[in-house]
């Protein structure tokens, strides 16, 4: 292990850490990245990989939309294996009550210059003929996209590496802060700035950072080209994804470029083991089959789980950790880390270099929760 001094050490080589390494190096800073596994592991390897504008809150919208536009700018440079596909999202409304939500969403996005199209029942079935008949309609958000996150992380890391960034992979970090990262083997890397981009492990690395692991299950099918054309999400998702306490499942599927279909989603707190929970899996697949009955005839080739890094208020931590001048956070992105990785890196490095960020950063500052810990 090198004892060289860097400007920045990023802990975590997932998509957020990779985006940070890319951005720091773009601004001429000397960067080292450490990860106990490899580039693009953790939630980056296990998540779905959507690039979506989300409207749970104004702050969430600002970050996801800004980041989506950064991805759109980056798109011509992305290699084939990143599989960036602007398939669009359709928010599926099962009944008239959910159609009211479709109209609310259309207005919200419309006021913020995000193009959408309201789909009636017939148009929805024309766009996605394998949905069950009788659904009320939906909202097509055409600029939403999907990609393959591990390859996106590799692309960002390789770009950083070409600018001189170095990696230290496969070594667990013992602790990080006060201007140095100490590996479990005793070696150290020092830097003026330490970035905790450790995802679901961020709270373990920096005590006081309130990150909970939120477990998810995914299933991928064999190749069924043409079965599905857009990412589909049920509007009932809003009810299930936001309940903090109970286990929940929701219909969310993505077409992949191979013709495979990625089927989600589930959310569980307090389940810290990696094993597939057959009860949750059955509920998730049953929900998916209610919307796409043809899924029941398909072969699933792999099932796996992963852990989202969830914060108490559903927004990530991006910025200085108030109790340690050298330490910055870039974590807590829950299910939106792939989307928001690029914007996270931008506004973090903006803060550090004294550049004016393009969106207000206050909602993401870790100090909003650290106040409670400041006296400890």
């Amino acid at each position: 292990m090198s004892h060289a001094t860097y400007d920045v050490v990023v802990v975590g080589a997932g998509i957020v850490g990779a985006a940070c390494a890319d951005e720091f190096s773009r601004r001429g800073m000397r960067v080292a990245v450490v990860d106990c596994e490899m580039v693009g592991s953790g939630a980056t390897a296990t998540g779905m990989g959507h690039i979506v504008a989300m409207d749970d809150s104004n702050a969430q919208f600002a970050l996801t939309r800004y980041s989506q536009q950064l991805w759109q700018t980056l798109r011509p440079e992305l290699p084939e294996d990143v599989e960036y596909d602007q398939c669009g999202t359709i928010w599926v409304a099962a009944d008239e009550e959910e159609m009211i939500e479709v109209l609310r969403k259309r207005d919200y996005y419309g006021q913020r210059e995000v193009p959408t199209e309201v789909l009636d029942s017939r148009t929805l079935l024309r766009l996605e003929p394998n949905l069950r008949p009788g659904l009320a309609g939906g909202l097509l958000v055409m600029e939403d996209a999907v990609l393959y996150p591990p390859c996106a992380a590799h692309f960002l890391m390789e770009r950083a590496q070409k600018r001189g960034a170095t990696f230290h992979l496969g070594q667990p970090v013992a602790d990080a802060g006060q201007g140095r990262v100490r590996m479990r083997d005793g070696s150290e890397i020092s830097a003026g700035i330490i970035v905790n981009a450790a995802g679901a492990g961020a709270g373990h690395l920096t005590p006081g950072v309130e990150i909970k692991k939120r477990k998810g299950h995914l299933v991928i099918t064999d190749r069924y080209a043409g079965f599905l054309r857009h990412q589909l999400v049920e509007l009932g998702y809003l009810k299930s994804a936001h309940s903090i306490s109970s286990d929940s499942v929701a219909f969310n599927v993505q077409p992949r470029r191979t013709g495979q279909i990625l089927i989600g989603s589930s959310r569980q707190y307090g389940a810290d083991h990696h094993e597939v929970d057959s009860g949750i899996l059955a509920r998730m697949l049953q929900r998916a089959c209610e919307y796409l009955p043809g899924l029941a005839q398909m072969s699933a080739i792999r099932t796996w789980t992963g852990f989202r890094a969830a914060t108490p208020d559903k927004l990530p931590f991006i910025g200085p950790w108030p109790v340690d001048k050298s330490l910055f956070l870039a974590t807590g992105h829950e299910g939106l880390g792939i989307t928001t990785s690029l914007a996270t890196a931008r506004i973090l490095v903006d803060q550090i270099t004294g550049t004016k960020p393009e969106i207000p950063i206050e909602p993401y500052l870790p100090s909003r929760v650290a106040k409670e810990h400041a006296h400890v």
Binding site: D222, R223, Y224, T258, Q297, M298, S299
Partner: protein, 81 residues
Amino acid sequence: MSSPLTVTVNGAPIVVPSGATVAVAMVIAGKACRVSVGGEPRGPLCGMGICFECRVAINGQPHRPGCQILCEQGMDVRTDE
């Protein structure tokens, strides 16, 4: 001994003994069942429904394990070609 059956493989009639699996029909037809992602022809390997190398579309349903399904008169079998 019951009489032979006729299935079609990519539209061409293939006569098989009663009780033959679709994998047998593919061997008689002399065709690969599918093409791998890397572009290689693939066919029956384990013969017991584990390796999934012998997947074909049967009566319009894709990715069916040919070694586990018995031929039926008039069955439509399609490969990736």
